[in-house]
């Protein structure tokens, strides 16, 4: 009897363990399903669509008509004709990320450690601009930086503005990008500083590091996950942005890839394949840069 019971018990254990595990995995799939469907319909499908468009060729003599093809010429055109725009996109986005970081870190630091009861007020000040439209805010910046606006006229009065104006220059574009994406830099850095254990920072002082060394060796490294998130959240959208270059930049020297894509899609007859190729190239470039960046700075111990 006991031998039987043992054998049966062994089997029972196997069969009994199985169903809950299977049920759990079904539940997991079921929960993931809406997300997958969403991604499939609104991300994968358009992406495939965009990719096929980027390989299409024009019907000669029928402007605005294409046929299905495997034409990598669009990519060649994209890179040869618009290399400068790619360069500007990455450069402006990089500069905006750098300036946003330089502005955001002290701000986030002050909010996390020094603000006391002003912390919530500062938080509201950072989030409040989101309540108005991105476009409107950028237009407002055009007013602020305009030739007869307060900034440009003051600088001109002091003879500190070589070109005589701010709008229509790259300075205005980078300033606009920096301004528009600043909250995306501040919030993750603030979050990582805020949750840092103050005792750990005190331990730096206890172990013979003065204020600056403690910041360099303890506080800054501990906030790296926030810095990483902030730079990505700033750089990626900034590199694809066209509103700032459109509203604050000039027609020629400050156009970014986003502007080219926009005009190829909406303003040039038959520009669809090239626009698609430009979009894909930009995406690949950003992905490659982000990959290198994360490999360099974002190891698992920071997360």
């Amino acid at each position: 009897m006991s031998a039987f019971a043992h054998a049966a018990g062994g089997n029972a254990a196997v069969t009994h363990q199985d169903p809950p595990a299977r049920r759990r995995s079904w539940a997991t799939w079921l929960l993931l399903l809406p997300g997958f469907l969403w991604l499939l319909v609104f991300f994968v499908f358009p992406l495939v669509q965009l990719f096929t468009v980027s390989l299409q060729s024009k019907y000669p003599g029928y402007p605005g008509y294409y046929y299905r093809d495997v034409n990598f010429g669009n990519y060649v055109d994209a890179l040869t004709q618009f290399g400068a725009h790619f360069g500007r996109s990455l450069l402006f986005a990089g500069l905006a990320t750098l300036f946003a970081f330089l502005l955001a870190y002290p701000l986030a630091y002050a909010m996390a450690f020094k603000a006391g009861r002003w912390r919530n007020v500062m938080m509201i000040c950072i989030i409040a601009p989101f309540f108005t439209s991105f476009i409107l805010r950028t237009v407002a910046w055009r007013q602020i930086l305009a030739d007869d606006g307060p900034v440009a006229s003051t600088l001109n009065f002091l003879h500190l503005l070589p070109g005589g104006r701010i709008t229509e220059t790259w300075v205005a574009v980078v300033a606009g990008l920096t301004y528009n994406f600043l909250p995306f830099m501040v919030l993750p850095i603030y979050a990582s500083l805020e949750r840092a254990d103050h005792r750990i920072i005190e331990a730096g002082g206890d172990l013979y590091a003065n204020g600056f060394t403690t910041f360099r060796k303890v506080t800054l490294p501990m906030s790296m996950p926030g810095v990483l998130a902030g730079t990505l959240l700033t750089f990626i959208p900034a590199a694809g942005d066209y509103v700032n270059a459109d509203l604050l930049g000039s027609d020629r020297s400050t156009k970014m890839v986003g502007n080219v894509i926009e005009s190829q899609f909406f303003k040039v007859l038959g520009g669809f394949p090239l626009a698609a190729a430009l979009s894909f190239t930009l995406m690949a470039l950003i992905l490659a840069l982000v990959f290198v960046y994360i490999r360099r700075f974002g190891t698992e111990e920071l997360l």
Binding site: D197, R199, I200, E202, A203, G204, G205, D206, L207, Y208, A209, N210, T213, K217, V218, P221, M222, M224, E301, L302
Partner: protein, 387 residues
């Protein structure tokens, strides 16, 4: 352990040696006084425990010694060097934080090497290796703190502090988060490390047993003041306040007026019984006194003993057999419940049952007298029960 040699300090570092002295130190937060006019002297190389209930100001005291908090009044010295007002990184003091506070982004080795590196020690890595060996964690040097168990992290925290060979090492309830077994093990280990490196340890705890087993000197703190200070056996044998009598071990207490003297004994009447206290063991000599006797000093009798000077009749409420001893709870005439521990020297069945009438006796030489303080008694009992 000559490997822990100390080469010249970095800028601003105070090279102080000697006993740690706190002189009339007060710390207020707004109108709340966390540490109240504290004067304390800790001899160099001793293991000193600061014992007290939650919120009594232990952490605040340590933080002032570390320089993480500045006293509102008073001075803090090591030897003859006044450290008041100096920054934490200028003091030859290191802290083992209650939460360990290891640097999460650094490996264990780099955590331990942090202090020596900051002070410009050429052989920081070597020192870190030695310190890790001392806490028996060399094999985990390449890991990150998050990959260690609580007990291991605690040892890293100790290594990270002692590697600097500070004059004073501050330990803020370092064993609080550990389970009982690991706690006992770490107590032994800390004690071993302390005797090996010979530094001054100031160990904060609210576990009286931990303080008693580890320290050379224990200071019992309450409400930002030191109630009593001394060797563990001294504190246990002769408490000077009601709070200490209850916080350090258990005491049977009863209050009443002093009625006279009998040679070198003070006689008081508590609940209709005359009790004698050696005058050297009595903190008051007139008026009201709280008489105290430790539970294991009380004998229990089923018949009224012949010719005993002071005895008390009581009713047994509870009997529990614990192996080495039997613990009785008895109700004395005042209605208070006293504890009595009887060692089980004879193998005989316990004949006393709850509800029985018994007589209690003790050697008056073990009795002590403290000032009456009804609040403190209740508080200490609550503090002992809480954690």
């Amino acid at each position: 352990m000559g490997l822990f040699s100390k080469s010249g300090g970095s800028g601003g570092f105070r090279e102080a040696k000697g006993d740690l002295r706190l002189q009339e130190v007060t710390k207020s937060f707004g109108d709340f006084t966390a540490v109240d006019n504290l004067t304390l002297e800790v001899p160099r190389g001793s293991f000193f425990a600061l014992l007290g209930p939650s919120g009594c100001g232990k952490t605040t005291t340590l933080r002032m010694v570390a320089g993480l908090e500045q006293p509102t009044a008073g001075r803090i010295l090591i030897g003859d060097t006044d450290l008041t007002g100096s920054r934490p990184y200028e003091r030859p003091v290191n802290t083992v934080f209650q939460s360990y506070a290891l640097f999460p982004h650094l490996t264990i080795r780099d955590n331990v090497a942090f202090g020596p590196t900051r002070r410009g020690e050429a052989n920081a890595a070597q020192l870190a290796g030695d310190a890790l060996e001392l806490v028996q964690l060399s094999h985990l040097a390449a890991r990150k703190p998050a990959q260690l168990s609580g007990g291991q992290q605690q040892r890293v925290a100790v290594a990270r502090a002692i590697v600097n060979r500070p004059e004073v090492l501050l330990l803020d309830e370092p064993l609080g988060a550990l389970d009982l077994k690991l706690r006992r093990q770490m107590q032994v280990e800390l004690k071993r490390i302390q005797s090996e490196v010979g530094l001054t340890f100031i160990h904060v705890t609210h576990d009286q047993e931990e303080a008693m087993t580890m320290a050379d000197t224990v200071a019992v703190m309450n409400h930002g003041r030191i109630e009593q200070m001394g060797a563990p056996e001294e504190l246990y044998d002769l408490p000077r306040t009601t709070f200490v009598a209850n916080f350090v071990g258990q005491s049977n207490l009863a209050s009443g007026p002093i009625t006279g003297r009998d040679g070198d004994r003070i006689v008081a009447e508590v609940n209709g019984t005359q009790v004698a206290i050696p005058s050297s063991r009595c903190a008051v000599d007139s008026g009201e006194v709280t008489f105290g006797i430790r539970p294991e000093k009380v004998r229990i009798h089923e018949q009224r003993p012949e010719g005993a000077g002071s005895d008390v009749q009581a009713t047994v409420r509870d009997v529990s057999f614990t192996g080495v001893a039997t613990q009785y709870q008895v109700e004395v005439p005042s209605g208070a419940v006293w504890n009595v521990y009887e060692q089980n020297l004879d193998v005989k069945p316990i004949s006393v049952r709850p509800g029985d009438q018994v007589w209690l006796t003790w050697d008056p030489a073990h009795a002590f007298g403290v000032p009456v303080d009804s609040d403190a008694a209740a508080e200490a009992l609550a503090a002992v029960d809480a954690p």
